[in-house]
Symmetry: C2
Subunit: 339 residues, 2 copies
Amino acid sequence: MKDITLKEIAAKLGISITTVSKALKNYPDVSEKTRAAVLELTKSLHYTPNSFAVNLRTKESYTIGLIIPEVVHHFFSNVINGIIAEAEKNGYLVIILQSNESLELEKKQVELLINKRVDGIIMSLSNESNNDEHIKEILRREIPFVQFDKISKLIPSSKVVINDQKAAFEATEHLIKKGCKKIAHIRGPVNPQNAIDRFLGYKKALEKNNIPFDSKLVYTCKNVTFEEGKEFAKDLIDNHPDVDGVFVITDMVAVGVLAYFNENNIKVPQQIKVIGFSNWFMSQVITPKLSTVDQPSCEMGISSFNLLLEEMTSKRDHTVFKPKTIELETSIIERESSL
Amino acid sequence: MKDITLKEIAAKLGISITTVSKALKNYPDVSEKTRAAVLELTKSLHYTPNSFAVNLRTKESYTIGLIIPEVVHHFFSNVINGIIAEAEKNGYLVIILQSNESLELEKKQVELLINKRVDGIIMSLSNESNNDEHIKEILRREIPFVQFDKISKLIPSSKVVINDQKAAFEATEHLIKKGCKKIAHIRGPVNPQNAIDRFLGYKKALEKNNIPFDSKLVYTCKNVTFEEGKEFAKDLIDNHPDVDGVFVITDMVAVGVLAYFNENNIKVPQQIKVIGFSNWFMSQVITPKLSTVDQPSCEMGISSFNLLLEEMTSKRDHTVFKPKTIELETSIIERESSL
């Protein structure tokens, strides 16, 4: 069965296309009898309005674009979950693109979404991305835009974030309160704002507690993987056996650290305490259970969509919209790895 | 900056809209000089063709729809990964919808995608769904359609599957070869075809090896969760302490089983052996490492998109397309939980 057009419906009923269109829109100048006939026929023929034609008229697609670095990542899949659930409630569809942490791909994807005339864009930047032209282009075109998690501070759009520096400060201080005197940090890549902020939080907590900062105890992830966790854990034990605590940029890497310690009989938390970041579901089912920072991922998705919706609505109503920043709360989850 | 239209470009250059349009499409009846002027101006004004208008003409959106039960699920997030990577290579965007295992939501989502005039739909059915009208409607409208993983056998569309029955047979026989004499099965919900097939594979393996089937040793998940795994593990130990092996529908639930056993000092694999299904990344980092069935999730996404592309291309070329079924290989991964 092919799609039915207004023209075909009009022909079948022997009336004009305009009359069919008016009947479907409940215009008062169409008789009840004609309206009933049109409705019955469109229903029996499974007529649906051609959304391209509708879009061309309203200039709205009720579709938004979402660009994230990685779908297969517990944090981002939870964010996606929040965004598409909230979008659906409000009648919006979500096109999801994955930048694979590549600036080149991300540029291409922004261009695709602009060409597709999406009503708005939500984005978490790739590690290589920052204050770049393709992001500025979104603003130049006045497309409603929300950044979340990995953001560029220089881009004046709405943002949904956590206070990474404060959260990292609290995680490091948690280890200090538990008695750690020499604390290592496995940090994220050099570029992303959240990796920088978490590193600064770690450094500040040491400073406040009069623990000397030692740059040799800071390891920098390239790909933020389980394997890097294992590799850095080995280096830590081989070269700094007196380290008694480690704060890890994210749970996935921390799980790698624990795997290496388990395999090499390094006692956690007795010999060394470990705290991760983001409260991945798996953190509570591994041995030992991982202490971590709870990051509200699904809520981050919901807030991002709602900020975007506010801007899209304001654009439709031709009212002025001032970008907003929402900061969500984090909390320390204490489990076996830092007892 | 607002979007620039062909009309505005034509006005600025003092030529007709048709000439601008022809220049952009490299028609031979436009002079080199005019073409150069048009290209320069469109570039400096960041002109992009309005994709709604283009769509209305070509009737193609270069957008496909994907409906899956759950984004936050390692298996599905890997499938999404495969689909969007492959779609992007071929110039397609992917709208992702999540049915949350709800038939009502799934119906609404199919309707949305039909109204959106997507070029094709890829779907893994919700647990409540089967040979339903909304699925038949996709075929009636001749929209290219691929089912994967959780499929309805009665719907004559292309399909990407694994041989669930064979894989489950092999998993159960693996436990038997390791010496298990009394094997329980934690199965998926009653309705989905893959849960039925895995259950049948389990039953066949017992039969072939002269182990009597006992329906009291079969537990049925409602929501396929970690918590259900813990709950059924408790019942198993409390009521059937002589069970020495358990085949679990999926790794997430198996991890719940292992968590209960760990917490209650039930020795795995000495007292009871465990095998899961789907080879979730986490299965190799927990204690004990979980034996499982490797299911090619990313590959399933890639194959699904490619089958859909074949059908979309065939539709565009007005050639006949015969639905195909691709069956991907699985394999047993032996780890600590079944040694």
